[in-house]
Subunit: 419 residues, 4 copies
Amino acid sequence: MTLLADLLSTVFERRYRRHAAGAALDGRPLTELADALVGTAGETSGLALAEEILTRFDTLGDDEKLEFFRYLATAMNIDPEAVRSSLDEYERDPSKATYRSFAAAAEPARQEMIRRLNRVPGATGALVQMRADLLRLGGKEAELQALDLDFRHLFASWFNRGFLVLRPINWESPAHILEKIIAYEAVHAIDSWDDLRRRLEPTDRRCFAFFHPSMPDEPLIFVEVALNSGIPGSVQALLAEDRNPMPEDQADTAVFYSISNCQAGLASISFGNSLIKQVASDLAAELSGLKTFVTLSPIPGLIKWLSQEDHEWDIEQPDQMKALAAHYLLNAKGRSNMPFDPVARFHLGNGALVHAVHADADTSDKGRAQSGGTMVNYLYDLSRVSQNHEQFANTRDVIASADVKSLAASASLSTTQER
Amino acid sequence: MTLLADLLSTVFERRYRRHAAGAALDGRPLTELADALVGTAGETSGLALAEEILTRFDTLGDDEKLEFFRYLATAMNIDPEAVRSSLDEYERDPSKATYRSFAAAAEPARQEMIRRLNRVPGATGALVQMRADLLRLGGKEAELQALDLDFRHLFASWFNRGFLVLRPINWESPAHILEKIIAYEAVHAIDSWDDLRRRLEPTDRRCFAFFHPSMPDEPLIFVEVALNSGIPGSVQALLAEDRNPMPEDQADTAVFYSISNCQAGLASISFGNSLIKQVASDLAAELSGLKTFVTLSPIPGLIKWLSQEDHEWDIEQPDQMKALAAHYLLNAKGRSNMPFDPVARFHLGNGALVHAVHADADTSDKGRAQSGGTMVNYLYDLSRVSQNHEQFANTRDVIASADVKSLAASASLSTTQER
Amino acid sequence: MTLLADLLSTVFERRYRRHAAGAALDGRPLTELADALVGTAGETSGLALAEEILTRFDTLGDDEKLEFFRYLATAMNIDPEAVRSSLDEYERDPSKATYRSFAAAAEPARQEMIRRLNRVPGATGALVQMRADLLRLGGKEAELQALDLDFRHLFASWFNRGFLVLRPINWESPAHILEKIIAYEAVHAIDSWDDLRRRLEPTDRRCFAFFHPSMPDEPLIFVEVALNSGIPGSVQALLAEDRNPMPEDQADTAVFYSISNCQAGLASISFGNSLIKQVASDLAAELSGLKTFVTLSPIPGLIKWLSQEDHEWDIEQPDQMKALAAHYLLNAKGRSNMPFDPVARFHLGNGALVHAVHADADTSDKGRAQSGGTMVNYLYDLSRVSQNHEQFANTRDVIASADVKSLAASASLSTTQER
Amino acid sequence: MTLLADLLSTVFERRYRRHAAGAALDGRPLTELADALVGTAGETSGLALAEEILTRFDTLGDDEKLEFFRYLATAMNIDPEAVRSSLDEYERDPSKATYRSFAAAAEPARQEMIRRLNRVPGATGALVQMRADLLRLGGKEAELQALDLDFRHLFASWFNRGFLVLRPINWESPAHILEKIIAYEAVHAIDSWDDLRRRLEPTDRRCFAFFHPSMPDEPLIFVEVALNSGIPGSVQALLAEDRNPMPEDQADTAVFYSISNCQAGLASISFGNSLIKQVASDLAAELSGLKTFVTLSPIPGLIKWLSQEDHEWDIEQPDQMKALAAHYLLNAKGRSNMPFDPVARFHLGNGALVHAVHADADTSDKGRAQSGGTMVNYLYDLSRVSQNHEQFANTRDVIASADVKSLAASASLSTTQER
């Protein structure tokens, strides 16, 4: 019954918000409303103001949105003099009052504005959308980048792992959630409801997503998992339409074959690490036969890097491509000595290691274009991820299996010879 | 089915936390673990560290807790020099990088530590408890008061109205929630499960609480409501054991007769205003016969103030007590010209007005001791609360009905005569 | 939490059934197992027997199923001599014991067998499927028809209106339910998930289904509703892909434009009457603007009847078709003086009346073939359905609006002239 | 969301029923309404009639109820002549039509009346209550006993194991369910909410109940379980207020120490067998450490039987009492050679065996009065219950452990000597 209560109140709150949106609008400019929202002491008129700001913002064109963002970035920025004087005061007399004054001065008013906007039931999703607009429109403008840091600071606190809820996504999930899974899949496109069903319904398939309680209809990130016998070396085989599903309790390996972020407005708020570990841990608890947790991942930067480095390659020669891919994963480095490959950075940073490399593993146009069809398994050895993570964080050395190392060694030689 | 998923994942997460708590403990001092938690770049070991800190903190004695708090307050405080130099840098060259450095310097490391502790599933409640300890132990120590401001800053963001869920509490609610309602009732004590049932089950009774999704078993604040015919003048009559409940659709008045905060660790995070307005609005939508929303409130500061001011009173003379109460509510002021009475401050700040005063209205020992048995109705006129709120915030003038004003006028005269 | 419990237990029970199905099978013939099931006093071995019978039946070919049905129909039939002697005994000495003996003798053993099969968690759906097989295979064999009467007798009791649950079906419903809606739609085919969504998601569309608690994944019957301004005369307009949805609170008319039974095994167990009235009543309570409840129904028997009666018609002449349709609906009678048209029988039997007839209203191939494109509105006047129902049940006179009557009058004349 | 829908519809349906109850009542006598209900062909007026009958019945005094029952028992009984003639017809020409006529004649009209009453949402509970009235008032009247057999026949079908839902009852269950657990506990009374909590909240306690989906607020039967180390010999120790709960995963034994039926109106509809086996099976799946499933049961007939048989006993001599109890359990027989003790009949009939007997095991007044403080463990060996059940059903021999047998042997000797 309390559950009913919950749901009813949620439904009510959504209606409330919608209803309020229809109310007569205040004639003042949006920036003035924003000032008033931060200035208002009490909550009463604040809530109505916040609703109006959110409603009005929704209807703005891009230029007007940009103008509003610039107002927040400048008129609602910190005042350096106020920071300095309150800091002096605090140093002279470190009391509750002086600390409070300093803290208030050191935080730009726009942070408080964003928090007050969030008091409106249902506003969290609108604020995530607002940041998506900012990222889309802001470009390299330094002031807008600073504004974005404030959004990001608040979102990192609100979308803290402790507040997220992990939900399985399956063929019994609501259609309005499933259509978002179709839309957001970023690695191996889902081309129909039948395709979706092949990834959700068989006994040897799983999907999990993180949700935030204030955005119950919006997945934040999701991972697709295949339960398998052994470590797979080809995504075509894994997703074949005519394959025979296996009983879940006969699987020994869980393959994370696709991870997709869903919300542009949550860029740089990292969920993937938590998601993979939580899912691996849940699956291990549910299915005692699972011994291996591994990805089947694209190598999105391979061809780009080969071109950039003037290395030669021939995608018709699978053995050569495998060796090149292994070499690339182990040795190609970018800024701060981090791996050049973004997917490698993600999994190595999580404490996984490079386990095996495969040629002809993704024969889609996209797969051939970005990696000559090669793919890689990153292995999550739950007993060693912490240690791997520390080692990688300290040394930036790519941890890999002996096989991959020797493969890379052969490749690097032949490339050198060719030059 | 997604709901099931949710609940399962919640259950899992609680077990997870409990299980982790039993893990072998790290031998390092707690303060060293806290430093490590803030220093760790990645999430992997951070989560294990956070779990250990929370688990260890739980087992500390008060002296050790105080020591830990002092460490946070000093070693994890801001570094004024770092603030100044990063601020100079930012003023010289306002870029994303310099703003980020300033923001990092201006926020004490302990805030980041608290956010990282909160990554552990189920940690939010533990952190609320940690602040309750701080408030209990911290006293007037300036540094600990500053630390508390950091907790409060984070909690205000996390317990933002937009994240809270309103739930009805009724006789079909889970027993483990109901026993907390019994424990937390702060105005008119609930002395048994039968007493509780009399406040929840009849058709003319309601109760509502705010919950946070990360603390689903802990009400944050709750309000008890009686549906009534007319505005009541006595809590004895309202709660009489042998009264006849009325059909809900015959009520014209909703009486908020008790509001209780539940979490010591959420002191100064205000929910009551939102709660009353949300409940009034929900009830108005559900029961079209309701025209009046009113409290039946204690006057906790009356006797204290009369003593302090050397006024004379006689609780056997109801008319005199009423007049004194009216005078007190309208004229007794404290700091910043705010009303002396804390309950008055709360309701007037919400935009309610003083509607009527009653003698012999609370004849319990507590009621006689604090207010000579008088009580007061604060009226929430939904069409005027915004306006009242603004007026009170600007002028601090107590808004009251004509009756109460003339009652207060008579009182103030007689008191003067007596002196 | 009790809800969780519920769901968990349901999940458990399904697994339980599946697991049991894998158990080693008893070697005895199915008919022997059936005898043993009815003979076994206690529940213990009964449950295992029942599981085995259900599992084995599933794997049978049609001939074997027919053989099993014939066994139930003959070997498990009543024994007339036993009925007579127990009846004599009861008449001689009407006691608890003699009544019990008579009741046992008068009910064929196969009824008890079906009840015992139903003890297996999840068996209800399997039994509905078993009856679907019986109806498909049984043909006109008198003994199998008698067996079917026993199934029907039990199902009428188990699928009693008081045990059914009404659920809205919408775009937030689970995908595995929605795909059944697509599959079971029997009036206006749903040709894709996009088409389904157009019938569920817009503010002016609703869908409701009856479920039985023991078959939570299987809708029994569902109705699709369009909220409209006025009474519609064309299903093309109603389902147009490019129409603009209207706000639900501006609708004055609820149009039941499709009702589909889902379970072949529940033939002759009537749900439609209850469903329409419950939905009309719920919608009236939710949307106070709704004043009219009406169908937009096919006239499936029109062309067939015109052919059979040697009437002439020309579907290019809409006015003539309308008149013919009106005449047909009012005057074409079949067995027991009931209307010839099955849809007319259903709605008139529910207490609706023939309100209006439209030409060019269903221009699909099916619509043109069965009714020359005509359709009809049956009107549910909630204040008169009881009275209409009684009148129709007693007199079999078709109740119709004045317009339809005069239309029918014109038609009948012209047809006569033509002959 | 479908869950919400469910719950909403349930809530709606309850309101619906209550609302209807307030409608203007039909002036005809109740018996005439009952006739009309059975006679009405269609559902429309039937539903209103059914609601009125249920509402009116509720307000009757006992004499009027009895009169109504007598009407059902006589006027709505079978007509032997109709049975005979339809049976003759069926034998002459076994067709669908003649079978239907016979089946209709052989079933008394009151069964159809009860089924039609059950169409009203929420009626199932009211019908269970109606039978409770019948059992309370009917006495030994043969016609009313026959009427009761009809109720029982229908209830056995409706409360079929396959329709029941097993729910855990715990400290998070709704209070209105828990207060029924307190009220219905029939073996070891629960004397307060604190006592209840001691039986539900500790990690080593469980409680489970069967519910019917149409009576979601009413447990049908529940069992209380203690997880223990070893087989206990005293209920005082098991329920001691100051005992230390053990971690659930350290328990090796599940003790069923109390089973209570909740609904007088479901007398003779057996649930206990299913409940114990389901719970044992669920617990075994959840807690792999559990090896033994055993009861700690009262011996309610011991003292009564000893008196009746003129045996001597002295409850101060525990060894003698144990031996007498063992002898009684193994040898005291009643009707049809079944054990004299009702609790023994229940567990032996389920396939359990008499495992051990204890003196001083229930020192409550009730325990001393009925069994001189002795108690017994019945052992459920899941691998042997089927076989035990069959053996007991065939031979009526009480299956017992060697210890209990030798104990019984010693007792029977000494008793003989004393006589």
